[in-house]
């Protein structure tokens, strides 16, 4: 028999079974009648006796239509749950897809869940119980005795004040021992946090380790560069852009930092440290895709929009005799997000 036929046959068998079961339940020829205490039948009690609810053992048989339908519904849900569960097993063992696997799992659990909720709805007695709440505050006497017991014990400790002091000191040392373990997790913030990888004379290299010359970019182009020997270094990543020289409006002390309109800025956003990954050549803006901060490359990457408050550090550039671009020094400030001591 093929797989499809097998499944069809199984489905048919389930349907038949369900039908037969349902019929028997609705016609009431099967199923146990529920026992209800006379106390239940009499309605809710406001304050049940502390002895509990089943003190009364006199029972009577009740099999109402509602109950029969309830039984049928619960049975249907359970059958669906079991069927879906078997389906899950089948799909799992035959390495079926994620959708079918999760779908059958969900159906199976939903079946069980619905069955239980229907069960509680149709087949359990709904009696509202009301009980007194005892006040949470203990009687004065109890509190007094507890306090007295504590103080009596504490007096023994108090008498030996030197020992008590030593215990406190010991606890302090214990705490210090545990807290000191944190040292293993930390790393010294100096020099890592203040590190600026670039130094004067280093060539600008692309990610595939090629030097950049003054002919590499057209105005409006950009490329990510690293210091020679530190390709892929996160803290050193730098964006090199080229703009038309006549548009430059750099501060006076940076006048010679941009040979032929080449500008280099730290590529780590000063806001939250994401790579400033986009250059818009029409507006001459560098954009950080994390929080949409924008920096104007013409004015020394001053922030022009978004949440960033500090400009991207600029890297002075010069062209050597072969026309290759080199760093003219370090970044103008510490690259990356700001911190307490990070203002030079």
């Amino acid at each position: 028999m093929s797989e499809g036929e097998d499944r069809e046959a199984r489905k048919g068998a389930w349907l038949l079974m369900m039908f037969a079961l349902g019929w028997r339940m609705v016609t009431g020829r099967s199923g146990k009648s529920r026992r209800v205490t006379s106390a239940e039948a009499a309605g809710p009690r406001d304050f049940p006796l502390p002895s509990g609810r089943d003190a009364d053992t006199e029972t009577q048989a009740v099999t109402s239509g509602r109950e029969r339908w309830g039984t049928l519904l619960v049975a249907c849900s359970l059958i669906a749950a079991i069927a879906a569960g078997i389906g899950f097993l089948f799909i799992y063992w035959t390495d079926g897809g994620n959708k079918l696997l999760g779908g059958t799992l969900a159906l199976s659990f939903a079946g069980f869940g619905i069955a239980l909720i229907l069960w509680s709805h149709f087949l359990m007695a709904h009696r509202e119980a009301t009980e007194p709440l005892e006040p949470l505050l203990s009687p004065e006497e109890d509190r007094q005795t507890a306090a007295d017991d504590f103080c009596a014990g504490a007096r023994d400790v108090k008498r030996r004040s030197l020992l008590k002091l030593m215990i406190v000191a010991g606890a302090g040392v214990f705490a210090a021992m545990f807290v000191s373990l944190l040292r293993s997790f930390g790393a010294p913030i100096e020099p890592a946090l203040y590190q600026i990888v670039w130094s004067r004379g280093q060539r600008l290299m692309t990610a595939d380790n090629k030097p950049v010359s003054i002919h590499s970019l057209k105005p409006g182009d950009s490329v990510t560069v690293f210091p020679e020997g530190s390709i892929g270094n996160d803290h050193a990543q730098t964006v090199l852009v080229r703009v038309k020289e006549q548009f430059l409006r750099l501060p006076a002390d940076r006048a010679d930092w941009a040979p032929m309109g080449y500008l280099a800025y730290s590529r780590v956003c000063t806001h939250a440290g994401c790579p400033v990954g986009m250059f818009e050549s029409q507006t001459n803006l560098l954009l950080c895709p994390c929080h949409q901060s924008t920096f104007n490359v013409l004015t020394g990457a001053e922030p022009t929009g978004g949440p960033a408050a500090r400009p991207l550090p600029q890297l002075p550039l010069y062209a050597d005799s072969e026309g290759l671009l080199r760093a003219g020094g370090r970044f103008s400030s510490i690259p990356g997000p700001g911190f307490w001591g990070g203002q030079q």
């Binding site: 659990f109 007695a125 790393a187 996160d234 440290g273 990954g277 408050a309 990356g336 997000p337 990070g342």
Partner: protein
């Protein structure tokens, strides 16, 4: 049989009386009392699915070249962590399903906690004697938020890398101790290899253990103090009305567990979540446009986007702009939440123990305040997707941000005023209804029980 088993345990543990009390424990029936249960059951799903995942995940940043069933990344350099996630998704039977269920369960867990907290807040359930559980509950929320962040940060994909950078920048921005704290927590200047293993340890052991202990305390206190109830006929501060734990409530509650599990399984099967294989492995110089955090961190992300670029310089020192929306705002927000029971005591001059809840309209100021805060958070939530909205509507991010910067103040104010008005109206309506009921009752010459009417 039951009796024999019972006898076996009772003769060893003396359990008959406590067992009987437990079976007869009264628990009030109301749909809103199931919100906390949904959170609890999602946590159970998290533990089950998380245990499965932990057997396969490799919290290591060792570099390797991928060769495996996912062809698109064949030959790509990645971390061992990311490689193990790919293996889990494409090589382990049911691995992808369990991983997606785990992520969905986390979203539902935190969602259920938030709605649960809102229910507690608006009905005044945090009042005496339940302040301790309010604080434990808030701590559970903080732990859940952090663990969500740790969970999606450890996968070693490009998106989680961005999240790690932003988290690091936030911690770094704290005045004076920020740099030390950030280096202590992340183990150096992010990106650094030691972060993922320690976040993994926190994610699968430390935080879940803390959540479990606090959860046990939370439930223990509910059991001890008994549950609150909505006002209604016969509801008083010194009685409790509801159905008994056994069997109705037990059946319903276990049924709810299965339903929560079913919904999470259906989502895990049908709705793709955090498809890390599409994002690619973490690469320090690459970045994903249109990146958002999981929904429960979007309020902080939105605040970080809307807050203007304002630095504070103190001589040679700096308080960076990230500090105000990223650290100060959420910390203050939670401090206000923790202290709210005291504030409520101060404005209502009410220090009595309460077991009957307060309808939101009975406390118009609190309800208006709560709704305004929710509106504020909602605008921030929207702001976290301002770039996506800009792309979808064809407007610029600048315009969207300007609108949101205005809305973030106007919308909560308007919401607060409207809700305040609605509360006053409905208080009047209820008062009138009560008057009419009293009149007709006295016309019939019935005796009015003062207690029942007052609690209406």
């Amino acid at each position: 049989m039951i009796r024999r088993i019972g006898r076996w345990f009772d003769s060893r543990l003396h359990l008959a009386q406590p067992a009987r009390e437990a079976l007869n424990h009264v628990f009030p029936d109301h749909w809103s009392f199931m919100l906390g249960e949904i959170a609890l059951y999602s946590f159970v799903v998290l533990i089950i699915t998380g245990s499965f995942l932990a057997m396969f995940f490799n919290g290591s940043t060792a570099h390797l070249i991928y060769h495996g069933p996912y062809r698109a990344l064949d030959g790509v350099e990645m971390s061992a962590a990311y490689q193990s996630v790919l293996h889990l998704c494409f090589g382990v039977p049911a691995g992808l399903l369990i991983r997606q269920m785990h992520h969905w369960a986390a979203l539902i867990f935190i969602g259920a906690i938030v709605v649960h907290v809102a229910r507690i807040f608006f009905t005044g359930a945090f009042r005496r004697p339940r302040e301790i559980n309010w604080w434990i509950g808030l701590t559970l929320l903080v732990l859940a938020l952090s663990n969500g962040y740790f969970g999606y940060s450890i996968l070693g994909d490009l998106l989680s890398g961005a999240g790690m950078r932003i988290g690091y920048s936030m911690m770094l921005s704290i005045p004076i101790i920020g740099p030390w704290l950030a280096f202590l927590f992340f183990g150096g200047r992010v990106p650094v290899d030691v972060t993922i293993p320690r976040m993994y340890g926190l994610h699968i052991f430390v935080v879940p253990a803390a959540i479990s202990v606090l959860l046990a305390l939370h439930l223990g206190i509910i059991w001890r103090q008994k549950h609150t109830n909505y006002p209604g006929p016969g509801r008083t501060d010194h009685t409790i009305t509801g159905s008994r734990i056994w069997p109705t409530y037990t059946a319903k509650s276990i049924g709810l567990f299965f339903l929560v599990f079913a919904v999470i399984a259906a989502l895990g099967a049908l709705v793709q979540i955090d498809p890390v294989w599409i994002y690619g492995p973490y690469d320090p110089i690459a970045i994903l446009p249109g990146a958002q955090p999981d929904w429960y961190l979007a309020w902080v992300e939105g605040a970080m986007r809307l807050f203007p670029g304002v630095n504070i310089y103190l001589g040679p020192y700096l308080i960076p702009e990230v500090f105000f929306p990223g650290i100060l705002f959420p910390v203050l927000f939670f401090i206000v939440l923790y202290l709210y029971p005291f504030f409520d005591k101060f404005i209502t001059h009410d220090n009595q123990p309460h077991h009957v809840l307060r309808h939101p309209y009975e406390q118009p100021f609190q309800t208006a305040l709560g709704c305004a805060v929710f509106m504020f958070l909602f605008v921030l939530f929207v702001a976290a997707g301002d770039d996506v909205i800009a792309v979808a509507t064809g407007t610029s991010v600048v315009t969207i941000r300007l609108i949101l910067r205005i809305l973030v103040f106007v919308a909560p104010a308007v919401t607060g005023i409207i809700v305040y008005g609605l509360c006053i109206l409905s208080r009047h309506r209820h008062a009138r209804g009560l008057e009419r009921a009293l009149e007709s009752a006295s016309a019939e010459g019935r005796l009015i029980s003062g207690e029942n009417e007052v609690t209406q």
